[in-house]
Each structure stands twice: as structure tokens, then as C-alpha cells.
Symmetry: C2
Subunit: 397 residues, 2 copies
Amino acid sequence: MINEKYKQMLSAKSVIRELSEYATNRGEEIGYENVFDFSLGNPSVPCVDEYTKAVIEMHENMDPMEIHGYSPSLGNTSVRETVARSLKKRFGLPYETKHIFMTSGAAGAIAHAVRLVTQPGDEVITFAPFFPEYMPYINDSGAVLKVVPPRLEDFQINFKAFEEMMNEKVMAVLINTPNNPSGVVYSEETLQRLSMFLEAKQAQYGHEIFIISDEPYREILFDGKKFAYPSKYYDNTISCYSFSKSLSLPGERIGYVAVNPKAKDADILAVMCGQISRGIGHNCPAATPQLAVAKVIDKTSDISVYEKNRNLLYDALVNLGYEVVRPGGTFYIFPKALEEDAVAFCNKAKEYDLILVPADNFGAPGYFRMAYCIDTEKVERAIPVLEKFTKEQYPNR
Amino acid sequence: MINEKYKQMLSAKSVIRELSEYATNRGEEIGYENVFDFSLGNPSVPCVDEYTKAVIEMHENMDPMEIHGYSPSLGNTSVRETVARSLKKRFGLPYETKHIFMTSGAAGAIAHAVRLVTQPGDEVITFAPFFPEYMPYINDSGAVLKVVPPRLEDFQINFKAFEEMMNEKVMAVLINTPNNPSGVVYSEETLQRLSMFLEAKQAQYGHEIFIISDEPYREILFDGKKFAYPSKYYDNTISCYSFSKSLSLPGERIGYVAVNPKAKDADILAVMCGQISRGIGHNCPAATPQLAVAKVIDKTSDISVYEKNRNLLYDALVNLGYEVVRPGGTFYIFPKALEEDAVAFCNKAKEYDLILVPADNFGAPGYFRMAYCIDTEKVERAIPVLEKFTKEQYPNR
């Protein structure tokens, strides 16, 4: 008999996907260049040439059996070694091959991490605003996702609300820095306070509480800032990484789990991921992108465009009187709508061919997200439209 | 807290993997060419040149953003269309794009299919001998896998035992034809009888019972036989396919779910897979192999070597007095060991550097599997060794 749960999920469509489809259709009417589509987080700069060259060279020169044979169940060993070496060099933690498990992007990484450290019925806490896909990512594992309301002034962690929600059924805390949808990067202070709080709770409850750190935007940082790497602040941390954003490879589904070498049972957690895989149909990401990303491990696409776009949009929004926190990274910005109902607000914007995403299901009703992974030229053309929309629709502010 | 279930799975190592590692290590001592390694089902012929050319051409000529952008959540639409057209042409069923869901190999396909048609606590029945990974594939979804004992004379379905095991909690039947580990292909008669039986049970219980048909060996058929395609015999069938074996691409993790167009709710089952994906971290197979397999959809690697190897091994085993069913496809053969304890039998064979897999956890104790996806030259050299082993160890038969 058909599983009704998944059947019912069909009627609850993704707001982002719907808006993105709307933008595509509208583009067919008036030319896509005239649609100011801020809906989707699809990178707008190509992958590095070296990635393309690596794929071509592999296919021209390597034995096909060697490229396309089964990877070991934890991922290609030399690729895991390369990842460990890179993390060790960048973040100063003693990563080794055994701490790395290759995955199908960050989604695959989180699917494994949550099963590693929770049992069905356990709780996982995350912080608003948050990526709405966390709901199925966590809840379908049998654990239960709880969402701490946002700290609106800067979108760091609302510790008061967090403390109220904390209880001994919480086995993991899911964080995302730099954050989708706010663009905010957690400060050192936030991570230190989080660490101290969790250390105390671990002692109080007598069990580990893991941080699952979703880090696909780790490299997209602005203003020359250095990334505050969560694992440096808290031992029981599992990093979930994807090359989707930093290398503009979202379709290739390539990422990894990196277990903090100082975590409890650090030596077996990545190996356990190989067991979890058997039950959720993974069995390693594809061989080709594994081998190819290893050749460009410390490179990124030309992500400078995102900072240019951030600057333009942030300034424009502030000039127009929007309440908005300045993003420290990613390619998102998360202003407050000009009326309480962000859906109504975004619907009005649509009339101007401005495609904005209302944030009700990001855990921050009344806000909206703009994904500015688009050409700078289009951002520049969008600003007068945003101005026109704002002044015409909300003249009395 | 760490999930103990997966921790405990670490100690129950896979017999196949262990033997394969043993063979590799032994190869380092005496030269791998002297180890008669029949342990692993890793294809021994390269993928077709056209696949390699397709990947190179894509990377040389296409816009990287177009190759590497996010696939839609059900898979690249043009690839799904190509798959549907190919299936329609080959098997005469009215497949359309909407019936196809792209997956990370057959493992990914089964992970989705089982969640489509079962709830936790439901039962799934499969038939021995069976691929041992079915245990975690099914049980980790929350459903419970039950195994019907084998019909030893021909490894078709043991209907008597099946009828005894059948009950109204059974929501799906998982079949694998051509079969790993027996190499046997289900006959038309078997599939007709299975269909009639399930139709009657659907009527009796008042709910659908789906066939989940695991078909990665579908193209590897011997003696010029035509494949009896399960969906042609039973409407509520979900085919799970992988290009791993037919195109020798196991590392690329590329396959699909194909919903029988006549199945109950056929129009929404593939779409529902997109919802299931969100909870188990899939989000589509990699973009590159999706696009590249579509260009070689009706091709296979040069799989004639497997038939040659089957002929050599089957004849040799029969001449040596083994009880063995003649495989109709795959690259496996599944003889009865010469003593009751197949583990002891395979351990003795190891002394001759013959690596055979005891079949206790394939649901057929006393049997062993040989994977003959190796060079024919090596099969030829293995036969006198098999003879020596058999005559020295079992002289009184």
C-alpha cells in the first residue's frame, strides 16, 4: 500500500521551487533578463577550469575500470586523505583519513550525521532563521527537529530561548554558519558561548550532545574575514560540507562528513557512516567528482561577485529604509518585509517582476530572502525596480 | 549520544568484503595474477568508449553551469524522457517521463521503492538465495524483510514456502532476476504464477502488494534468451535499475526507479520519490553520469566475456561432480559445497588461492558463490586448481 505520508507531502509544495518556476515561466513571456529572480541558491559563477580539465584528463588518460570501479564504502581513500590534509592545514585540527566520509553533498552528510548521534524520538535543535529542508532531513530519520526562535537584531543565537528549549532528550544541535537564509556568520563569541553551554549540559545530562555543523558556505566570506570554524570551539562536532557552493558544483552532489578528531569515538564515527549508508541507499558519491574535487581541493570559483552583489543590495535596502542585518557571507540577504504578512509583501513585489521568497517556513515570519547569486549587472538593474516597488506600494513609511 | 545500532554493525563484517581484502593482500605476496579471486561482483570489462567520449565532449563544449547546476529533484528531465522512451521501446509498456525517477544506482532505487510502498512495521518478502545487502536496505527503512527458503533444484521461486509465509502485513515482494548470487533468470512461468498469486492476495487482503524488481543484471543474459520483464506480468511493479553492471559504471552510482505505467497511482509514485529523497539525503544522482548515460542508453559493455566464463566454469564444475544450476545470466554461479559447512569448504579452497564466498548469509547455507567477472584467461587457469583442490580435499566422492 502506498505510504500516505509521502503522498501528502506532495501537496505542500516548496515555496522556493514554486517561485523559481514562476520566474522561469514569466521569463518565457517577457525575457528572463527582465525577471529579477532572487529565488534560488544556485551558484552563478562557473566552476574553476582546473575541475573541468581534471575530468577531461581523467577520462582521456586513465583506465576506465580505475575511474568507474566501486569506491570503498567510505569514499575513495586518496580523496579522503586529501580532504583530511586540507582541513588540517586550514583549521589546525589533527584530521586524518579515518575522520572523513565522502557524501552526496551536504544533504547526504546531514542524513548520515543525524543518524550517527540520534535514535528515533531524540530531539535535535536548530536556530531560526533556518533552511526549511532541515525539517525532512531530521524528522524523516525519526529524530524530532525543534527550532529556537531568531535573535532578530543580528541573527546570532538567541541563547535565552535556546536554554528554555534545552532538555535531556536533545542529542544534537544543528548549526549553519554562514547561514542560509540570513547570510550571517556566527561570531567567535557565539561559538564560545554555545560550546560552554553544551559542555555544561553534557555534564548535567551525562551524555554527549553533538554539534552537526552544516558548512557549505564556509568559503563565501566577505570583508576579508576569517571563518570561525565550529570544530575549533567544541570537540563533539561533526562538520557537513558540500563543494556545491564554493566550487559551483551543486549538480555533482559531492561533499563529506568530517568528524572532529577530538570528538568522542572519533575513530569510529566515519566508519559507522558506512553502515548507515547501507540503509539509506547511498554507497558513496559518484567516483568522477570525488577524484576531480581532490585535484582542486583548496580552490574556489570566483566568488568575489557575491560580495559585490551583497554591497549593492545591502546599501540599496538600507537607503530604502529596510531593516536588514548585513550578511557576512553566502549569497543571501534577509530583510524585514514592509508589512507583517511577508507573503502579501512578496506577492506585491511579483507585480514588479521582483521574485522574493517569503520566510515563513524559514522560522522568521515577516522576513524575506533574496538569493543574489545572479549577475551583478542584473542586481544593478533590480535596484531601481526595488525602489519603485517600495515607494509605490509603501508610500507612507 | 552515539547510535549503538550502527556501532554494533561494525563488528559484523561483510564476508564478501573480507574475502576480497584477503585476496588483495594475498596478491601482494604472490602476485594477484596467482590469486583466483571469485569474491567481488565488480565488472571486469571497461565501459563503452561512447560513454567516455560523451563525458569529455560535455566538459569540452558545454557551459559548466549547464552541466553542474542542480538537477530537478526527480532527475534531469531529458534524461528521464530518454529512459522512458528506451523502456517503452524495449518492453512495450507505455512509460512516460513521469514514471521515471533517477537514483544513485539500484541501492538508491530500492531505498526509495521500499519507502514508497511500506510503512514501518510492514513486511517485505524476498526469495533465497538473495543479495545479503537486502537486509539493511529493507530493515533500516522500518519495514521487516522475510526470506522464503530456496527451491534448490532450479532456484526459481519456492511457492509452497512462499504461501506459508504470506500474510496481510506483506506490502511488497522483492525479486532479483537475473539473480545474484545464483545467476538464475526467472522463467515466464515463474513470473506468471507469482503474478496470479499476488493478484489473488491483493483481492483477499484488500490492499496492493507491490513487486520491487531489482534488475541490474537485466542485460547480462546468456544463450540468446530474451528477458522476461517482471512489469509485463504484474501491474503493481516498480523496477529498480542500475547502469553499474551493464555499462561497467559501478562507481558512478547511476540508476533509476521505473514505475509500471499500469501500477496503482502510477502518475504520482515517481514524484513521491522526490519527497522520500529529502529525508534520506539523496537529491538526485550526480549530473555528469546522468547526462552521459542518456547518450549510451541502449548500449552495453562487451559482456560476452561473462557467457564465455559461465560456459567454462559450469562445465568444469559439472565434470568435477558439483551440484550446480546452470546460470542464465549475471556473472555469478552458485554450486553446492562438497561438505555441509560451506565456510569450512571455502576455507580449504583458500589454501589453493581459490577465493570462494560461502553463502550462509545469502539464505542458502551449504552453497557458495563464484563471481566470474574476471578475465577468461584467469578462469582457464583456475579450472585445474579447482580440480586439484576438489580431488585432494574430497577424494572419496
